[in-house]
Symmetry: C2
């Protein structure tokens, strides 16, 4: 039993669970013994019960999982076999489990488990996985350095392509290409320019892809990429051309907030004190109302801790990895965000991303 | 009132609704009077009530929506103003609505509406939007031709890059770049090779991005792109090198199923008869069990009708646009899918995508 599984077994015992049902890929990747992330296809269920790892693959990954995954029990779900949910229920019943934690359950899964296994207490625990995955192992830090390096290449490519007359879409094309070629398996980019930069709080929308850069635009590039399963995340903002005094003040102020907040990130620092550092710097300008989001989310396989935000009380620990990403978005003017990937060492914040805070614009 | 809104008003009257609450972007885009798709940011709510279009933007798009959207009422939701849900409830109350259709509601929205507006009957109707958007206008067909042409460029770029030693990720880089440069605003690609091609039924996972092409691999490239808001969708499969007799038979059989099914697509054809054409051709080989999915989904702004599948009774109409995408995926061997975008004219199926069914491999 490796260290991850030992810590999990201890936690399950402490909380009184017989087993842990994993539906979320980050948890599956972390606790299933796999060589590398791509040897675990996206399966509906992994059930961890003592030493055993039961994988319920479903028809489409059944043969792949059978062939590639060693050290796991594989539920029989070939084409025209049981569907994964039925197989899971059979396996839970067969093991006589009484109290099962699940990392997330959809309404249909909840209904099916309650109907078919009325004597089994199934408890959703969304916190357990992220908590156990929180402190990163040295091997994970190395993977995150690689993801950070790929994100550096994307930021460089994006701003190198930036010039008056170039579309947000063109910039996305250059950055995506650079990162996919360098090893990213998934690339999601947000390229915003001009008034659109004040709308970046919407994380899922690459706003106005057809918009063409104009003199005195602000250009904001944010990303979420995965490299060998680990998140790479970085944001830079630049002014195209000379810019107004107000635009320059936005950039300067957010960079200052970033540096001050990063410098305070060390073991024992708490979310409220870190959040206050950014807010205080923005307040000097009267801009605190234009900073609507978190300062930090955790980094790793996805959905990680800790969180630094107005509503968080997390306290940083050595081995944490998290973003640091203050921003200001003023309607009608534009917005800026600067974001790096941070590793908390006993001595303080180490930046995993290495791009200069003010990117080089144009080639 | 334009034709779309006239048809909607008629439907609402027939079904006894006072208003239609839109949370889904395809419906918002279709029924909100906008110049082009990018002038409507992703807003939480649009409420259509007679001639009026009420947009509830929320803080992050409030100023943009105020500036750009004409002919709409804009709910006051600036930074530090009401949140969108509260504003929506106020506006429904103010208009004295009694029976409101909603295209989709999350559990929190459902709970809030039931609590704050107990006298208002809110009915989820997921079908109304897709039904009214189903028959495409000539202007929409032109947009879809453009999306199809961009997808042709992506397929060409993908297979031109294919060679022994090239990774799935490299192929994705070339295809993404070609399509983003040609006008795609969003690109989602699935590049599978070797044994992975039998796992394409999982639509959200670009399997094994780091895998490198080997002699006698099957290579499958599928995509979902958006061009000016409209979906482009195409799949091709090719054998790298000579291939085995069985691989060649898979490709030939799926292409034959594609052609036969496409040729039967005309106004009045029903889903069961079309589905049976593909299944019958696969059954001759004993492969019907390896075809697990639909033949067709509708095309357009997203979530469109009609559907051709084992469980569908849709009947094709002139003006429909839909995919035609039979596939066979044999565990341990590989899989193939061929997919084109089809426009149903009074005379039959017109292919909007124009790439050759057997793509040119290598440069």
């Amino acid at each position: 039993m490796n260290d991850r599984r030992r810590r999990l077994a201890h936690a399950l015992q402490e909380l009184g669970y017989d087993a842990f049902l994993l539906t979320q890929r980050p948890n599956q990747l972390y606790f299933t013994p796999v060589e590398e992330f791509s040897s675990l296809p996206p399966v509906p269920f992994v059930l961890i019960h003592g030493d055993e790892t039961l994988v319920v693959p479903g028809a489409w990954f059944y043969h792949m999982v059978k062939e590639w995954l060693s050290g796991c029990t594989i539920a029989e779900t070939p084409v025209r076999g049981d569907n994964p949910e039925t197989a899971l229920i059979t396996e839970i019943r067969r093991r006589g489990l009484k109290r099962v934690a699940v990392d997330y359950q959809t309404q249909p899964l909840h209904t099916a488990l309650a109907r078919e296994l009325p004597a089994v207490s199934v408890v959703e625990d969304t916190h357990l996985g992220p908590e156990l995955r929180r402190i990163k192992e040295p091997g994970e830090i190395e993977r995150m350095r690689r993801a950070a390096a790929v994100s550096d290449l994307g930021i460089e490519a994006a701003f190198r392509a930036a010039a008056v007359g170039v579309s947000n879409r063109d910039i996305a094309a250059e950055a995506s290409y650079a990162m996919l070629k360098a090893g990213a398996e998934i690339v999601s980019l947000q390229v915003c320019s001009g008034p659109g930069t004040y709308s970046v709080a919407s994380e899922t929308w690459q706003y106005q892809p057809q918009r063409v850069l104009q003199e005195n635009d602000m250009l904001l590039v944010d990303m979420g990429i995965y490299v060998n399963g680990y998140l790479g995340d970085q944001t830079r903002t630049a002014i195209i051309g000379e810019g107004t005094l107000q635009q320059k003040a936005i950039v300067e102020t957010v960079q200052r907030a970033y540096r001050a907040t990063r410098d305070a990130m060390r073991p024992g620092a708490n979310a409220q004190e870190l959040y206050a550092i950014t807010v205080e710097i923005l307040r000097e300008r009267g801009w605190e109302q234009y900073f609507p989001h978190h300062i930090s989310h955790g980094l790793g396989l996805g959905g990680d801790l800790p969180r630094v935000a107005a509503d968080s009380n997390d306290v940083l620990q050595a081995g944490d990895t998290l973003s640091c990403e203050p921003g200001v978005y003023i309607p009608g003017v534009g917005g800026a965000r600067f974001e790096n990937m941070i590793h908390i060492t006993p001595d303080g914040a180490e930046e995993l991303t290495r791009s200069p805070l003010s990117p080089v614009v144009g080639s």
